[in-house]
């Protein structure tokens, strides 16, 4: 238990000494992605091999323990998910990719015992092996600020975070600053909400601090529901203490003594790591009564979501914490006035809280030196879809789209051509080749009708049908609509019906106009932010890909060749040998003909199931 600031400083010195004493380190990526790819098996195998070789391997840093031969650690997400399982070897800083349990023997034998690099496990760029992060374009082109510690320390132990300078900002806040100073610093930094809204954090905090009501709450929105976004998951799993530190500082600055973290149910590992982190912070006296003897007390609880996307909306989220249906309410009163349990509430996103300790430590001036004038700092994105380098990235706000897609992302996957990138999930829009120079920041995106959302970037290639993408998002929004307001409940259903008809080849003249009209109405009249932006994916795809919609409606053709119902399956009479295999496999009897003569498919009966395609031994059946 650390009772004073001096205690924490002394403990930090011990932790740093213990970290420095570790002669060699292996950090196994234990983010959701790498674990799914089997990184825990690699971890177990490394441990086993080291034990067999008589190496003294520590799995938990202990300040009083002797010096181990090798420290084996589970880090948070190292970012380069596509290359998992990722290993980071210290002190050399080498990165090994696609590591399998079968490689472990060699890693210990060569790299750990002899200090040799294994070229085969390195990332290769243009035929050259890249040893360290600085040589790998995916990492070299990023600016890791908020996520700097993520992937570099063991995510499971507070000692590691403290050794890396963790909780220094809390010290500074508690003992060198008062509430006003902290809020001024955050306001001057112009930190804007990373959850998508982009509201100024400092303004939010000062509004809460100004309320007459003295019972106040700090709430962290970890309900990262946008499909295709997983940066908040990365923060919660990889640097949980940094987020907690930000929340404690927020509590101190706004006079709250209780905080809640709302995590979506699909992130069980984030819940587990946060629970562990809270327990450790309590045990060390960094959470609880009279933190470090400052007189300030703060407690944190975790609430798990139960699978409702709408709970990412502020008032729905607080309703859910209260044990109610997660439905948004009419505002005002705003959350800063009457939020959780009707009390003034600071509600910020995971990444926003994680940025707070850095701003307190290094100052608003420093933070503003990164990013753009109106959107300072960095933003984490998750880069997925048909792109070469998928993973979790961080770049300065205002980085041009092409830098992200072709620089960090390495361009398209083999053989694919860039078509669009979907940003901001179901509230977002599609950016195309015309937007390659667009700086990614709050205001530039807003100008083109898109939004940063929570930061999911899904890259689409030419085989992706944009009408189908619009249908996919509308289907999502419609299913997730809470049903409270009619524009969203009814409007999204009508839009979905039209989109479903269009992709099924039953589009009609006037459909596009109807979609646009419905979109206008929903945007203007829906109750909450999710409803207001529900039509964005449709509107942005109509704007950029109108001809694709028209081809579906008027020509009954899917230019991307993706819509099942619009496919035409034909038999090439030149290649068909009349074996009749296709006719036997057809579930609806659409294929007929005489044996040893070319068969034909009746287009009206055919359900485009594709069964014949895979059956034909002569590749005579084609899909167009």
């Amino acid at each position: 238990m650390l009772k004073t600031r001096e205690d924490l400083k002394a403990f930090r010195a011990l932790c740093q000494k213990a970290v420095k004493a570790e002669p060699r380190k292996i950090l196994v990526c234990a983010g959701t992605g790498c674990i799914a790819g089997g990184s825990l098996d690699v971890y177990a195998k490394l441990k086993e091999v080291m034990a067999a070789k008589g190496l003294n391997c520590s799995v938990q840093m202990e300040v009083e323990a002797g010096i181990p031969d090798v420290a084996l650690k589970k880090s948070g997400c190292q970012g380069f998910c596509d290359m998992g399982t990722l290993l980071r070897i210290e002190p050399q800083g080498w990165i090994y990719t696609k590591v399998k349990p079968a490689d472990c023997e060699e890693i210990i034998e060569k790299t750990i015992l002899k200090g040799e690099h294994i070229g085969r496990l390195a990332y290769h760029h243009e035929g050259r092996a890249c040893k360290c992060a600085a040589e790998i374009p995916f990492y070299a082109k990023q600016t890791r600020v908020t996520m700097a510690r993520c992937g570099e320390i063991d995510a499971n132990y507070i000692e590691e975070y403290i050794a890396a300078g963790g909780y220094e900002a809390l010290e500074k806040a508690l003992f060198e600053m008062d509430s006003d100073r902290i809020i001024r610093e955050i306001t001057e930094s112009n930190l804007r909400g990373r959850g998508g809204g982009g509201f100024q954090t400092g303004k939010k905090w000062s509004q809460v601090a100004r309320q007459k009501e003295t019972v106040r709450y700090v709430v962290c929105n970890g309900d990262e529901g946008d499909p295709g976004a997983f940066m908040d998951c990365g923060v919660m799993e990889g640097i949980p203490h940094q987020m907690l530190e930000g929340m404690i500082i927020a509590g101190y600055a706004t006079g709250a003594s209780e905080g809640y973290i709302y995590v979506r149910a699909e992130y069980p590992r984030a819940v587990e790591r946060l629970r562990g982190a809270i327990a450790q912070a309590e045990a060390k006296g960094l959470l609880g009564d009279n933190i470090l003897g400052s007189g300030f007390s703060f407690r944190l609880r975790i609430n798990r979501g139960a699978g409702a996307f709408v709970c990412g909306e502020g008032s729905a989220l607080t309703a859910s914490i209260e044990g109610k249906r997660g439905m948004p309410r009419v505002k005002p009163p705003r959350t800063v006035e009457q939020g959780l349990f009707g009390k003034p509430t600071v509600l910020n996103n995971v990444e926003t809280f994680a940025a707070v300790p850095l701003i307190i430590e290094k100052g608003a001036q420093w933070y503003r030196s990164i990013g753009t004038e109106t959107s300072p700092g960095t933003k984490a994105f998750s880069l997925t879809g048909n792109i070469r380098n998928t993973g979790m990235i961080e770049v300065p706000m205002g980085t041009p789209l092409k830098e992200v897609i072709f620089g960090v992302g390495g361009g398209m996957r083999e053989g694919a051509t860039f078509k669009a990138v979907q940003i901001g999930g179901p509230s977002g829009a599609c950016l195309t080749n015309d937007h390659m120079d667009l700086p990614l920041d709050f205001d530039s995106l807003k100008k083109v009708g898109a939004m940063i959302g929570s930061g999911g970037l899904v890259v689409l290639d030419e085989n992706t049908c944009m009408v189908e993408v619009a249908r996919f998002f509308m289907n999502f929004t419609q299913k997730e609509s809470c049903g409270k307001c009619a524009p969203c409940r009814e409007g999204t259903r009508r839009m979905l019906e039209i989109l479903e008809r269009i992709v099924a080849g039953e589009g009609r003249d006037g459909d596009l106009e109807m979609l646009e009209e419905l979109a206008d109405t929903i945007t203007a009249t829906a109750l909450c932010g999710l409803g207001k932006t529900a039509a964005s994916p449709v509107i942005s795809t109509i704007r950029s890909f109108r001809s694709e919609y028209e081809a579906h409606i008027y020509e009954k053709r899917c230019p991307a060749g993706s819509c099942q119902k619009l496919k035409r399956i034909t038999i090439d009479p030149e290649l068909c040998k009349g074996c009749s295999k296709c006719a036997k496999v057809c579930p609806v009897g659409a294929i007929s003909g005489k044996v040893k003569e070319p068969f034909v498919i009746d287009g009206n009966t055919c359900i485009k199931c594709g069964a014949c395609l895979t059956t034909c031994p002569f590749q005579a059946i084609k899909e167009a």
């Binding site: 992605g33 799914a36 998992g84 992130y267 139960a306 899904v458 997730e480």
Partner: protein, 161 residues
Amino acid sequence: MTETVETQVLDRIITAHGQKPSAVIAILQDIQEHYRYLPAGVFPYLAKALKISQSGIYSVATFYENFSLLPKGKYVFKICDGTACHVRKSIPILERLRAELDLSEEKPTTDDLTFTVETVSCLGACGLAPVLTVNDKVYPAMTPDKASELLNSLKEELKNA
């Protein structure tokens, strides 16, 4: 119809979260973890314990996607249909599993309560799309064939158990 519920189990869960209305979601989550669904008998018991109406609890249980009022199978397949998985072809995987088990969106669980097949929105493993989970173990970079193989290996496991 009211199924019998073990009151000791419910009492233990209620005590752990505190006997207050705001804890109802956390309590329902733990009950569901225990039974793999919410048996009907839970509602009158909780209503009394937490002093909220049965309909109030029912409205919460039916609002959230994760709660199920119907029993689920021993193995629950969840096919991720987040954007990244969707554009990397997750639907054919879902269709294959449903076809092999004779299931549909309306009938997600086999009659012998062995398998459940459902979709889930984004699991956050987008880098390895498409993914699916079986009882929360994640299987990356799936294809319909790999899903069939997985299903067959689970069937084998059951036979040998």
